[in-house]
């Protein structure tokens, strides 16, 4: 159990999730599942970042009892990055869902290949 992948188990998990999300976003033909994949991918990155900030046995970075020692708290930087990242991911998700709604209204399908095919057909007529 000493292999680095087990020591860094949290990172390993987040990377696998990243791969799953990436695959879904790239491969799945259903738009909703693509968006789910995108969310999984983003969340995996946030998990990765959050894990990076953690230090064994330390407190959350909120000053308590006037302790201001760097060895008392975990690293606050990744937490801030995750906060920023979440908002970005919410925005892109909302945008893609709105696009999906419009495409569904118009072509009656969530399958990207079919949508593209119908769009081509529509243009030819």
């Amino acid at each position: 159990m000493d292999t680095p992948l087990f020591v860094n188990m949290e990172e390993t998990v987040s990377i696998i999730l990243f791969g799953i999300g990436f695959t879904m976003l790239m491969l799945h033909r259903n738009l909703i599942k693509k968006i789910l994949g995108m969310n999984i991918m983003d969340t995996a990155v946030y998990l990765f970042l959050a894990v990076k900030g953690y230090i064994n046995g330390r407190m959350v970075p909120i000053v308590t009892n006037q302790i201001q020692d760097a060895s008392a708290y975990i690293n606050p930087v990744p937490s801030g990055l995750v906060l920023t990242g979440i908002v970005v991911s919410v925005s892109t998700t909302a945008l893609m869902l709105a696009l999906t709604i419009r495409l569904y209204e118009r072509y009656g399908s969530l399958d990207l290949d079919e949508i593209l095919m119908r769009a081509k057909e529509e243009e030819r007529t």
Partner: protein, 498 residues
């Protein structure tokens, strides 16, 4: 600190603020505001360029009260100033040229939203150019992506919606890779600002630590940004996006957005990962090969295409290939050539898109390029503009495209291993370019056969489009004729990166 040094910050904030303010203005006011802002920021960027050339060095600008490793920072040098100025000019002319079409393509009550996208696009491009912080770069990459998507889908006709979703999917794949690359880099260096990150990378490299992660970081960041800028195997979203958006959006997306990502990549190579490390890691060779493939395949696709705008879009794929090939050469000269070609392409491609629209106007708005027969007589200025753009892309002397081809060829001679493939690919690609662009130009000036009854309405072209075509032609000639100082500026700007 002199006032000029504040200008990069002012231009970013001004562009953002105008976007925010446009949300309560009506379409017309939003348009005027956005034109003013683009003009002002372009002037400011020019001032920054002048300042940096005069002092001969770059400077960093603290965004807040805290110095380098703690607070956000932006940075300006000769190359940043030059790029920002050119981008501003191209954006201004594109917005002016496509104005009438924007008014026609976008719903009346949503006009102001279009100009919000333009403003925020400008601010994100400026921020990508000036940034000195990796995470700021990520945030503005996202703004850029979303604004780009907005510009595509705001014309809610034809295939623009499906093009927008494809664009979003590819961009998100790219962003995801870029973000994981940043996280890995943060993990091994502990810095997000470029300057301290570079120092940390140098320490790591010297100690021989984290060899595998560094390699993967370089690969992941390069691939992420390559996907977003549409390098060859990831190019399939390009023709739809550029072909079905409103003209201003096509010109901006092809001319500026992809270049913004490439500029960021160059900046990361120089300012974070270290050029020597990147060259040693063979990543440049991968980019080189993909660039070559893009140069050839983009042109082949363009030849097979019948819709003019999609043809121009495929030609973008080829030109992006050129730029990556220049980066892939791995020499200083190759990088200068790549940056110069970036400018050439953004000026020329925007000209092509805008003048193509001028030609469509007088030929009954059909997609097929055959309907353009004789359009060069019906709208002489747009015809000249298109011809100039085509000749520049082919590499006609005096025009900017010639200079960049020359720079590519001379820089290829300096790297012995890559000389042969580069020169051969340049030759083949030039011939292919000539084939499809000259075919278009010949079509423009062939007499229409009235018997076919397609002599189309001689509709009047608008003066704004004419004006912007003239400006673009002048910009192209300037880049071609005064290439010497510009190449020098690029060289000194790249030197400031180290």
């Amino acid at each position: 600190m002199s006032m000029v040094q504040n200008f990069p910050f002012f231009s970013i904030i001004l562009a953002m603020f105008s976007g925010i303010a446009s949300s309560v203005l009506d379409g017309k006011r939003a348009k005027h505001l956005s034109l003013c802002v683009i003009a002002v920021t372009t002037g400011m960027s020019a001032a920054v360029l002048r300042f940096c050339m005069k002092t001969g060095e770059s400077y960093t600008y603290m965004m807040g009260h805290f110095p380098a490793p703690w607070g956000n920072e932006i940075r300006a040098g000769a190359l940043e100033g030059l790029t920002a100025t050119l981008f501003g000019l191209v954006m201004f002319f594109s917005v002016v040229g496509g104005m009438e079409h924007t008014a026609a393509d976008v719903e009346g009550s949503k006009q102001n939203l279009f100009y919000i996208m333009i403003d925020l696009m400008l601010s994100s491009l400026l921020a990508l150019i000036y940034t000195n912080d990796l995470f700021t770069a990520y945030v503005f990459v996202e703004i850029n992506t979303i604004a780009g998507c907005g510009l595509i889908m705001i014309r809610q006709k034809g295939r623009s919606l499906s093009a927008a979703i494809r664009y979003m999917i590819m961009s998100q794949l790219g962003s995801g890779l870029f973000l994981i690359g940043l996280s890995l880099l943060y993990d091994v260096t502990g810095h997000l600002l470029m300057t301290p990150a570079k120092e940390a990378v140098a320490v790591i490299e010297a100690a021989g630590l984290y060899a595998v992660p560094m390699l993967v970081i370089m690969a992941v960041v390069s691939v992420g940004l390559a996907i977003k800028s549409g390098l060859y195997p990831f190019h399939y979203w390009i023709p739809d996006t550029y072909g079905y958006a409103t003209p201003t959006a096509s010109a901006i997306l092809s001319g500026l957005v992809s270049k913004g990502y490439i500029f960021l990549l160059i900046k990361i190579f120089y300012r974070v990962l270290g050029r020597e490390n990147v060259i040693a890691s063979e990543i440049v060779n991968v980019l080189f090969v993909f660039g070559l493939a893009g140069m050839l395949m983009g042109s082949v696709h363009a030849i097979l295409e019948k819709d003019t705008r999609r043809m121009i879009a495929y030609s973008s794929v080829a030109q992006i290939g050129y730029i990556y090939m220049g980066i892939g050469l791995g020499t200083q000269a190759g990088m200068v050539a790549a940056v110069f070609h970036m400018f050439t392409h953004s000026a020329t491609k925007a000209l092509l898109f805008i003048s193509a629209v001028g030609l469509y106007e007088v030929s009954g708005d059909r997609k097929d390029f055959r309907s353009l027969r004789g359009a060069g007589y019906r709208n002489p200025l747009a015809g000249i503009g298109f011809t100039v753009g085509s000749l520049s892309m082919v590499g006609f002397p005096m025009l900017s495209g010639f200079i960049s081809k020359l720079l590519f060829a001379t820089s290829a001679l300096q790297s012995p291993h890559k000389m042969l493939p580069t020169v051969i690919a340049l030759a083949i690609s030039t011939i292919l370019n000539a084939v499809y662009f000259l075919r278009l130009v010949i079509t423009l000036y062939s007499i229409p056969e009235t018997s076919r009854g397609q002599a189309a309405s001689p509709g009047k072209s608008n003066w704004k489009l004419q004006l912007s075509v003239v400006c673009f032609i002048l910009l192209n000639l300037t880049l071609g004729l005064y290439s010497q100082p510009i190449v020098e500026w690029i060289g000194s700007g790249l030197a400031m990166f180290d």
